[in-house]
Subunit: 363 residues, 2 copies
DNA sequence: TTGAAAGCGTTACCAG
DNA sequence: CTGGTAACGCTTTCAA
């Protein structure tokens, strides 16, 4: 007559409890719920109904224990003040969900990682690890290597070894140089990023090299430290230069800095993207930079593809740990906004009605 | 003579493998590794050495299966373009790690949540859930309630029921009104946030109510939509008003918008935080807003405490699911930066050398 | 101080 | 088509 004592917290439904209620074995329930072909439609319907009714959710812990995959991916995030990372995070979360995977945050920001955080990678049987941080935390790298846990770097160049997806930073920088030269700019400036991020260095290198190839020299270089504030500082300096000596084109190697540059120029009444003013170009294509009031001319990273390929590479290595290191480079697209102008146009560029010039690479 | 066949992927060490190597039982290893008192120091040392050597990491899945806690917390993140959320995320990750917990991202951004994402909450035996999103996804709320999974809202007011931590938005708004009035401002503007975020509404309400109490009316209101771009638009409008009619104080209900306002004012040569210009104040105290070139006067949310109390409340409810709903309100601190000035001072305020006036509440 | 055994929820294998 | 059984790695009685 008495009900079981443990009814205070309505114990979550399990395979066994469902089996009892349906009058079948646990194996049958398991098969029915996962769409195994050899189950009579009748019992399947009954079991499915029962599962829905009780709000049954399979226990991923038990499944993982059997030796399967956990469906969990570790995530190491870069400094969140760079607007690219919030954008990246949203895309990553969405696409991981599409693939039935969840992200476990192992780290965010610039500090170093606790020991037990790194251990979590193993404790929770994470299937793999995605690192978006510019600086690859050595502990994670070591743990992944020693335990054959696949690791994929996203937006980070794998110089020596490892699997990675990144945007062609060198080519992007070069493409911007081409466009600026083609559009008639003469005095070029660069706002560099954090010194030990390979992406920043490559973008700058590509830009400067192409300038040189085409007979232009870099007029001035600022250190922007990969922060918007650093961009502002650079923009302020430019604004204080005499209009004759002032650069007429500024390449900030990330959109965050580029927005800072623009803010500073405008605050000092230096026109941006207009005749007689300064053209500003960036890199990344973050959402905020493409919209007013910036409408940046920039290299847009194919974020969907970057994230998609990153996850695909990772999951492929989860399937086959013996897969060789693979590095995927994707090309960004040059987006023409209003932040850069073309000499000879009253304002703006082709995208806004100016047909002059061409943006193909100079021979 | 032959080694076991499965040596291709060096099978991860387990309790049993350690037991075999140490010549003791699994129970002993388990006890030794978790500091159970009744293990001889000798065997303990031996086992610990062995564990370190093999890089043993306990299997959290197995432990959880035994009925313990998973150590996993679900996280629902708000729109990442609001700079408060990146800041919040970093703090949350750090403090969760300190407490030995990991965060599983269930959602980020504004879209709606997939069904199976919500199911993950149950599948992975998440101990609880933290929601920082302004809009509480109903599915998560329902699942948590039905399954007795504790849920804590952070930076979100729990009007009807639920456990939450938030900053006193009404009082913060009022405090800013007080300061602006005390500093001699006459024409007050508000830049409001997203319409259905309780935090934005409360901040605005507190501000406007205090203005009224002290005989001031709101001169003009803008809709900033909680985006920096919205702040820019508002700032632009202000700049186009004739100096006689222009507000001399603007309260943007979040720092992101406030920075946008400042950018727009500066771009239009309207001085910010100086005699003859406009004072701009914000709310949140995000890192970027406190530094140059903004140095915002703002209500700084006690981020460490907000996050710390949030986690504490959650973990307390994991221990004791019967704990009653609890709402913790923390007061922010008024931070005086250079973005607002005091009439009678050449520039800036007390924090920058002006001793005039007082910031206490008017009687 | 240590060991043996049971059991958590699931899946896979082998029978029927 | 369905059921029984073993096993995954760990903790927790209960015995020794």
């Amino acid at each position: 007559m008495d009900l079981p004592a443990s009814r205070l917290r309505p114990a979550r439904a399990t395979l066994l409890s469902l089996a009892g209620a349906a009058g079948v074995s646990a194996s049958t329930v398991s098969r029915a719920l996962r769409g195994d072909g050899r189950i009579s439609p009748t019992t399947r319907k009954r079991i499915e109904a029962l599962a829905a009714e009780t709000g049954y959710a399979p226990n991923a812990m038990a499944r993982t224990l059997l030796g399967g995959r956990s469906g969990l991916i570790g995530l190491v995030l870069g400094p969140m003040h760079n607007p690219f990372y919030p954008d990246l995070l949203e895309e990553l979360v969405a696409q991981a969900a599409e693939r039935g995977q969840r992200l476990v945050i192992l780290h965010a920001g610039e500090g170093s990682m606790e020991d037990r955080t790194a251990q979590a990678l193993l404790q929770y049987q994470l299937d793999g690890c995605i690192v978006t941080s510019a600086v690859l935390p050595s502990r994670i790298a070591a743990i992944c290597r020693e335990n054959a846990v696949p690791l994929v770097m996203v937006n980070r160049v794998a110089r020596e070894h490892g699997t990675a997806v990144y945007c062609d930073n060198v080519e992007g920088g070069a493409r911007l140089a081409d466009w600026l030269i083609d559009a008639g700019h003469q005095r070029h400036a660069v706002v560099g990023g954090h010194v030990d991020t390979s992406t920043s260095l490559d973008r700058e290198r590509g830009f400067v090299a192409r300038l040189a190839e085409r007979g232009h020299a870099l007029a001035v270089r600022f250190d922007g430290g990969s922060t918007r504030q650093g961009g502002w500082a650079a923009g302020t300096q430019v604004a204080t230069m005499s209009p004759g000596k002032r650069p007429d084109a500024i390449f900030a190697v990330s959109d965050g800095m580029a927005m800072g540059v623009i803010d500073a120029l405008r605050a000092n009444s230096v026109p941006v993207g207009e005749a007689g003013g300064v053209s500003v170009v960036g890199f990344d294509g973050v959402a905020a930079a493409l919209k007013p009031p910036y409408e940046l001319t920039t290299i847009v990273q194919p974020l969907q593809s970057v994230v998609g390929r990153g996850l695909d590479l990772l999951l492929a290595r989860v399937e086959d740990p013996a897969a060789p290191d693979e590095v995927v480079m994707l090309r960004g697209t040059l987006h023409l906004g209003r932040s850069a102008w073309r000499y000879g146009c009253a304002r703006g560029n082709r995208a806004y009605g100016c047909a002059a010039g061409r943006s193909a690479r100079h021979p």
